[in-house]
């Protein structure tokens, strides 16, 4: 087996330039697949980032709400009903809306997502949010998302230099007192975080009794399923109780169904696969055709079809490994480029890395299978 592998490698590597070109084809395919799948997954993940950051055991939303980015409000009193259950530790309301942020450098307004949640013990993981709780409780103070797009102005740099920034949101003077990294998505270009009282100051027309998201923390050791069964009848048809995981599921389902990213980038990956397939097939076919007299000679000397076929298969495998490695690192590099350009984090996952590798192997072996039909048919008598 090792001997056969060596023959395959020596035949493949005899002409260095051809090998490099062959690998380049695989590299392109690997890169395409990794980047397309990466953007697809990254965009999906970023879109559910807020839902994924929820730390409450249970959440309450309006039954009309399809995604928390375009939520319908429900009465706060329904949430308060649940607070009485012995297994419930505490409940917390969250307000969400779109506001208009004035870029104080160019005086233009840009839409921005605003999240109002109690900074003292938030049931959502905004890293560093509760550390600034005392100041956030003062009127018209808020925090800026460090990952917001540059359209909002050089806020981070300004904050680093001056400590705070004054601007207008919904035509109301506010003070930005810091920035935390949460992350934007294809749904929103920027986020702001502030206490519920300050949220209501920005949206004076909004009814404080109508909230977007109810967060429930259960006492340690509580049986979540049993509590859900107890609480559900208390809400009736006006609000919907779900677990944190169900919220994440429904958010990702919404993004998949409503945004075309899943399809577009999924298709990009499929195209990558076929490009790779065609390229590798072409290469192996040419390779096999060029080596046909040698294959015929080996056949005449008594090498079995199986040995010759494994040579071609090994070459397919070698091409997939040799193409995958540089393709992987190129994709990593493109991830950082994309992260910088789109300002959404893209990262490599083990899962994707391995599945694309397996796809590459399948692609190469499939091409080998077609290319070696020629080897199978070669007539050893032709060498005389």
């Amino acid at each position: 087996m090792w001997d056969t592998f060596l023959i395959a490698w020596r035949q493949l590597s005899y002409q260095r330039m051809k090998l490099v070109v062959a690998c380049a084809g695989v590299v392109v395919a690997v890169m395409l697949m990794l980047v397309q799948l990466g953007i697809r997954e990254g965009a999906l993940e970023n879109s559910i980032a807020i839902a994924a950051k929820v730390q409450a055991d249970l959440v309450v939303i309006s039954p009309r709400t399809k995604t928390i980015f375009q939520s319908t409000q429900f009465p706060r009193r329904l949430l308060m009903r649940l607070a009485g259950h012995p297994a419930v530790d505490y409940v917390q309301e969250m307000y969400m809306s779109q506001a208009r942020w004035r870029n104080p450098w160019e005086f233009r307004e840009h839409p921005i997502a605003v999240f109002g949640v109690d900074p003292r013990s938030p049931l959502i993981d905004f890293p560093g949010y509760s550390r600034m709780a005392s100041e956030l409780l003062l009127p018209d103070r808020l925090i800026f998302d460090r990952n917001n797009r540059v359209t909002y102005g050089p806020v981070r740099e300004h904050l680093a230099a001056e400590g705070y920034l004054e601007t207008e949101i919904n035509h109301r003077r506010v003070r930005v007192i810091g920035s935390i990294p949460v992350g934007i998505s294809i749904v929103s270009d920027g986020n702001l975080f502030l206490a519920p009282a300050n949220f209501l100051r920005l949206f004076p027309q909004r009814n404080p009794g109508a909230i977007d998201l109810g967060l429930i923390r259960l006492k340690p050791g509580a049986d979540r399923e049993a509590v859900v069964q107890d609480l559900r009848p208390l809400l009736g048809a006006e609000a919907r109780l779900m677990t944190r995981e169900e919220l994440v599921d429904s958010e990702s389902r919404f993004v998949r169904e409503s945004a075309p990213i899943d399809f577009i980038f999924g298709m990009g990956a499929v195209v990558g696969f076929f490009i790779g397939f065609v390229v590798v097939y072409q290469i192996l076919y040419t390779e096999v055709t060029n080596h046909l007299p040698q294959f015929a000679t080996m056949k005449a000397m008594g090498f079995s079809d199986r040995t010759l076929l494994s040579i071609v298969y090994y070459q397919g495998l070698l091409l997939s490994v040799l193409g995958y490695i540089p393709g992987f690192f190129l994709a990593l590099w493109l991830y950082t480029v994309a992260t910088r350009a789109i300002q959404m984090p893209f990262s490599m996952t083990w899962n994707r890395g391995i599945s694309v590798f397996l796809l590459t192997v399948v692609m190469c072996l499939l091409s080998a299978t077609i290319a070696l039909q020629k080897v199978r048919r070669v007539d050893p008598a032709d060498v005389f």
Binding site: D3, T4, I7, R10, Q11, S13, Y14, P293, Q294, T297, M298, A300, M301, G302, F303, S304, T307, D379, P380, A381, V383, F384
Partner: protein, 244 residues
């Protein structure tokens, strides 16, 4: 023939088997079917015995190479009987034909070395068909036989860096290194100048004699006829034996 004999590197005296190495009875061969059918070999009857060097001569198109491919198991017999190394090839399966090829050393008109392997690797390649031979032995035998054909200094040269004569000598080394029970050579001197061709044929003769291995060689080359024990002459697909 036992593997012991094959494994022994010492020269063995040609054992005169009562059973011939090649035996043809009314052997016929035709290309194509129906109206396109063209018969190239007609009722051949001959034997090649162990240790014999037999030359096959005749004008081009007379069917020499076709006969060689039949004996080598590269084509199937259409009519008549052909027994090679005790295998009835007229009723052989594909696996039998492959097994037959493994027992035969082929030397082609073109050297047909694998360009991506060095001289030594080309020779060692043959042992992949004989996995029972230990790797150290493989290496040693390859070096030995390449030294014997005068290429000790060129072991790691690829065919592209060898001259025509050197390539053909590597091809001979490759054909003989596993001590085949029969060597089939198709005009091994055709691509060589007369002096080199003579060298190559003498080398072949020497190696065959020391191993007691019969050789059937197709040739046009009148200069090498003297090495033969027997000459078979084919004309228009019919055999005219010319005994020496």
């Amino acid at each position: 023939m036992s593997s012991d004999l094959r494994a022994s590197t010492a020269a063995t005296t040609p054992s005169r088997d009562p059973v011939p190495v090649i035996e043809a009875h009314d052997l016929c061969f035709a290309f194509g079917l129906g109206e396109l059918r063209r018969q190239v070999l007609f009722d051949l009857n001959f034997e090649v015995k162990s240790g014999e060097i037999v030359l096959l001569t005749g004008p081009s198109g007379s069917g020499k190479t076709t006969l060689l491919t039949l004996i080598g198991g590269l084509r199937r017999v259409t009519e008549g009987e052909l027994t090679v190394l005790g295998r009835p090839l007229h009723q052989a399966t594909t696996a039998d034909l492959t097994a037959n090829r493994r027992d035969i050393g082929f030397i082609f008109q073109q050297h047909n070395l694998l360009e991506f392997l060095s001289a030594r690797q080309n020779v060692e390649l043959m042992f992949q068909l004989h996995p029972e031979v230990a790797p150290e032995t493989v290496r040693q035998k390859a070096v030995e036989i390449l030294t014997l054909v005068g290429l000790a200094e060129r072991l790691d040269y690829h065919p592209s860096r060898l001259s025509g004569g050197q390539r053909q000598r590597v091809a001979i080394a490759r054909a003989l290194v596993t001590q085949p029970r029969l060597v089939l050579a198709d005009e091994p001197t055709a691509a060589l100048d007369s002096a080199t061709g003579r060298d190559v044929v003498e080398l072949l003769q020497y190696l065959a004699r020391t191993n007691g291995c019969p050789i059937l060689m197709v040739t046009h080359d009148n200069r090498v006829l003297d090495i033969a024990d027997r000459i078979l002459n084919i004309e228009d697909g019919r055999l005219r034996t010319v005994d020496k």
